[in-house]
């Protein structure tokens, strides 16, 4: 059923009894052309573009739990393309352009809201850094503006610009086309669109091993039986290392925790996403009115999906400094996701030493905004065996050749990215 105003009215008048499931609950077949491991946004987008752009319909997406139940449902939904290095800038800008047409393309409302992403600076050194980066974005053809304190005051009326603050705000930068989208809807929209093109979405199906012969992949073993496939794509960021180990591979990735919290809902007061590097916090207000607050990694390797309180305390202190009015709000939820932290802070979309096995991972804490472009490049790789131009810099090989892609230059220390 195509969603439209007509379908909405018709179902409303018939008591909403005739809506059909948005995708089939498929059972695994013995063989597919392509098997994708991981039913998050990236895996589902990969399946959709494989079917839509490359005409490969015999595709299965295997998900150990339910689709969108991992990092797709845990991120803070921010979409932006404010990168400095040309390879990152062009890739994320392509993603942003796909986001702009995605609701229409998928016939599914992903609630993409281009409300603008603001980054504040608190020192002359930070101002120079951000201005350089945003000037570079303009050279790369991305929208970017530098904001004075006066413009910030007009744009964000509740923001504290107190000159007596510990880190007084000197100004900021904005990417006006950046924003947020409903993360669950992204998984559901891609799932529904892929399903309509014949992709099998198989939930509660965990991959427990790989069938490899003569250095080539021949299939996967799962909790629901063996499945043969000549091409397998891993889209399991957070758990890439665990899956890769089953295939005998070691990766330039560590797994770390990233937390977020939301407050109780309040009236709308914050129309943009606001981020501060000095305070190491970012704040936005969801469509439901909750204040959504995120920050840096907890800082040590972990697969626990549970964050610790010192980080919560730190990010809440930062958020309250930016927006003093939220001090009295109560927290409603706190959660953590596990991140694939790559050694240079940039993602990996790549062939691996095992023939026919491809990896999409190492997204650090930036995987959500990349979803459409990651699926786009991964589908190209799985369909043709060749790297898409946009993803050339993300090859696994770069750690051996020295072409590492590091935006901030901390060196191979994932807990500092």
């Amino acid at each position: 059923m195509r969603y439209s105003l007509l379908s909405l009215v018709r179902n409303a008048l018939s008591g909403h009894r005739h809506w059909r499931p948005a995708w089939r609950d498929a059972a695994p077949k013995p063989a597919y052309d392509v098997v994708i491991v991981g039913g998050g946004g990236h895996g589902l987008a990969t399946a959709y573009y494989l079917a839509r752009l490359h005409g490969i319909g015999r595709v299965a997406v295997l998900e150990k739990g339910w689709i969108g139940g991992g990092n797709t449902g845990r991120n803070t939904t921010i979409i932006r393309s404010n990168y400095f290095l040309p390879a990152n800038a062009h890739f994320y800008e392509h993603a942003l352009k796909l986001w702009e047409g995605l609701s229409r393309e998928l016939n599914y409302n992903i609630m993409f809201s281009q409300r603008g992403v603001v980054n504040l600076f608190h020192s002359p050194a930070e101002r120079e850094g951000w201005t350089r980066r945003y000037n570079m974005m303009r050279l790369n053809g991305t929208d970017a503006e530098v904001l004075t304190r006066e413009r910030l005051a007009a744009m964000l009326p509740e923001l504290s610009l107190d000159p007596g603050a510990r880190y007084p705000v000197l100004g900021g930068v904005i990417q006006p086309r950046g924003g947020v989208a409903r993360h669950d809807a992204v998984a559901w929209g891609y799932a529904r669109a892929a399903d309509r093109l014949g992709v099998d979405i198989i939930q509660n199906c965990e991959v427990t091993g790989f069938e490899i012969g003569n250095g080539r992949i021949a299939g996967v073993e799962t909790t629901r039986g063996a499945i043969r496939a000549g091409r397998v794509g891993l889209c399991v960021a957070g758990h890439s290392g665990t899956l890769a180990r089953l295939a005998g591979l070691r990766l330039p990735i560590e797994t770390h925790l990233l937390q977020a919290v939301v407050t109780e809902p309040v009236k709308p007061f914050l129309s943009r996403v606001v981020s501060s590097g000095a305070l190491r916090v970012y704040v936005s207000q969801t469509a439901k009115g909750e204040v959504l607050i995120g920050g840096p990694l907890d800082g040590y390797n972990s697969y626990s999906q549970r964050g610790a309180w010192p980080t919560v305390e730190r990010i809440l202190a930062g958020a309250a400094e930016l927006y003093p009015r939220i001090r009295r709000l109560r927290l409603m939820r706190q959660w953590a996701g596990v991140m694939d932290m790559s050694m240079d802070g940039s993602p990996i979309i790549s062939a691996t030493p095992v023939g026919g096995l491809f990896l999409n991972g190492g997204w650090c804490y930036g995987g959500f905004k990349a979803t459409p472009a990651a699926g786009w490049c991964m589908a190209h790789l799985l369909a043709t065996g060749a790297t898409h131009d946009l993803g050339r810099a993300f090859a696994l090989d770069r750690f051996r050749t020295g072409h590492i892609l590091t935006e901030r230059g901390e060196g191979p220390q994932p807990h500092l990215h």
């Binding site: 290392g241 070691r250 330039p252 800082g299 040590y300 697969y303 610790a308 010192p310």
Partner: protein
């Protein structure tokens, strides 16, 4: 919140420490004569275990010594903690 058992100071909160990364990796023993492949492995590739993980912590707000901790990356249980003693170099240099 992790409670790290410092061999000098006793159990202290993680906020007193600085994380120093994976403690199971070391530069190749051949030093500058090691192959590119050996350096690539040491610099960039990690076991990233789901379970026991050997890692380094610096007790910044305590004894200011480095300790090696073995910690479970799923349950966060501390399995072992010991003072990190740099191994003496064979050529006698510090």
């Amino acid at each position: 919140m992790l409670l790290l058992p410092c061999p000098f100071c006793g159990a202290r909160a993680e906020t007193e420490f600085v994380f120093g990364g994976d403690g199971s990796v070391a530069p190749p023993p051949e030093g500058e004569n090691a192959s590119d492949a050996a350096w690539t492995e040491a610099l960039y590739f990690r076991d990233n275990p789901r379970g026991a993980h050997r890692e380094l912590w610096f007790h910044r707000h305590g004894c200011r010594r480095w300790i090696a901790v073995e910690r479970d990356t799923v349950s966060h249980a501390i399995l072992r903690a010991e003072l990190l003693v740099p191994s003496a170099r064979k050529d006698g240099q510090a």
